[in-house]
Amino acid sequence: MSEAVSLLPWAVAAWLLGIGLYGIVTSRNYIHLIGCLSVVQSATYVLLLGVGFRHGAGPPIFYDHPPGTPAVDPVVQALVLTDIVIGATVTALLLALVLQLHRRRGTIDPHEVRPFGP
């Protein structure tokens, strides 16, 4: 039981990474592909927050309990925080690329867009 619980966060992170990559590999639509990329990215959130978690610890905010009370890792939380904001804007950039692709080539199917193609 304890080992299963201990493995669960890593299993969830690996599953999100795998299912997202599977979506990217089999995608027939760039908007779907960008959604899959966000799923891959959310694997990093689970992994980082899993690394920083600690049983019975509070948030790393020492406003109403004094410094020294057990708290989870603030470093990974800061990493996830910036990760989410950057991920959202990079998604917007990719969606803008898809809009331009649709305007120029009339398709958003990755299979129809060949590198160095016509």
Partner: protein, 253 residues
């Protein structure tokens, strides 16, 4: 590479990676009992050294401040790239009609939607400012506050419609907020250098813990991040919603 070959390559890669993932996961320290020396050091010292009670902000704006500077410029680059790709492809006038699907009528927003959006739009803008300003004491900060402020802009769009919303959203002001935020962060670093200290050294008075104005230079950097994030997301909203405009006869695109 055909779709079938691509799938087989992916499955082959999974076969190689999955045993490695299982091997590593089984040898991780027990979940919830990891040694976290870096986080513990910051939890133990930051309140004493930097007079702030929010450790995440202390990491973001002070102990790893240079990382956040890099992230600011990533944000700036992504927003600039999106704007360059989208701007100028659609007509600018505010009088444009919303995009329409043939045969589907566009109804005006109901009074209930307008009322709720006006009430909550303003409340969410104030809440975003509160979250952004209390970065040093309670959970929150420029990143979260900036995103909340930008989502308040979206509620204004839902309530007022495109024309009323564009009357409020001045792209030149939003561009300026986005650029000025990133610049403010960089200038905060160079100001420390001008004072003869290493880049991004916290040289301002630190104030009292649990006070909104504690943290010294972190406050300036936090304002920069809040401006850059709120401005950046608002610019993205303007650019993407412009894409839903339909061209009208007699307009230059």
């Amino acid at each position: 590479m055909s779709a079938r070959v691509r799938l087989w390559v992916f499955l082959l890669a999974c076969l190689c990676v999955v045993p490695a993932v299982i091997h590593v996961a089984r040898r991780m320290p027990e979940f919830g009992a990891h040694p976290l020396p870096y986080g513990d050091a910051i939890n133990a010292r930051a309140t004493r050294e930097r007079h702030v009670t929010n450790m995440v902000s202390a990491v973001n704006f002070d102990y790893r401040g240079i990382d956040t500077l890099g992230e600011e410029f990533m944000l700036l680059c992504a927003v600039t790239g999106t704007t360059v790709l989208l701007r100028g492809t659609r007509p600018q006038p505010l009088a444009d009609r919303p995009g329409q699907v043939a045969g589907r009528e566009v109804r005006p927003a109901s009074d209930a939607v307008v009322l709720i959006c006006r009430m909550f739009g303003a409340a969410i803008l104030v809440f975003g400012l509160y979250i952004a300003l209390h970065a040093m004491t309670t959970p929150g900060g420029g990143f979260q506050g900036g995103v909340i402020i930008a989502s308040g802009f979206m509620l204004i769009y839902l309530g007022e419609g495109y024309r009323g919303w564009r009357g409020l959203m001045r792209p030149e002001l939003l561009d300026a907020a986005e650029g000025a935020g990133a610049t403010l962060y960089a200038v905060a670093g160079f100001a420390a250098m001008a004072a003869g200290l290493p880049f991004l050294t916290n040289f301002l008075p630190l104030g009292q813990p649990k006070d909104v104005f504690s943290g010294g230079l972190m406050l300036v950097e936090n304002v920069g991040v809040a401006l850059a994030v709120a401005g950046g997301f608002a610019v993205l909203f303007v650019e993407f919603l412009k894409e839903t405009r339909t061209e009208q006869n007699g307009e230059d695109s």
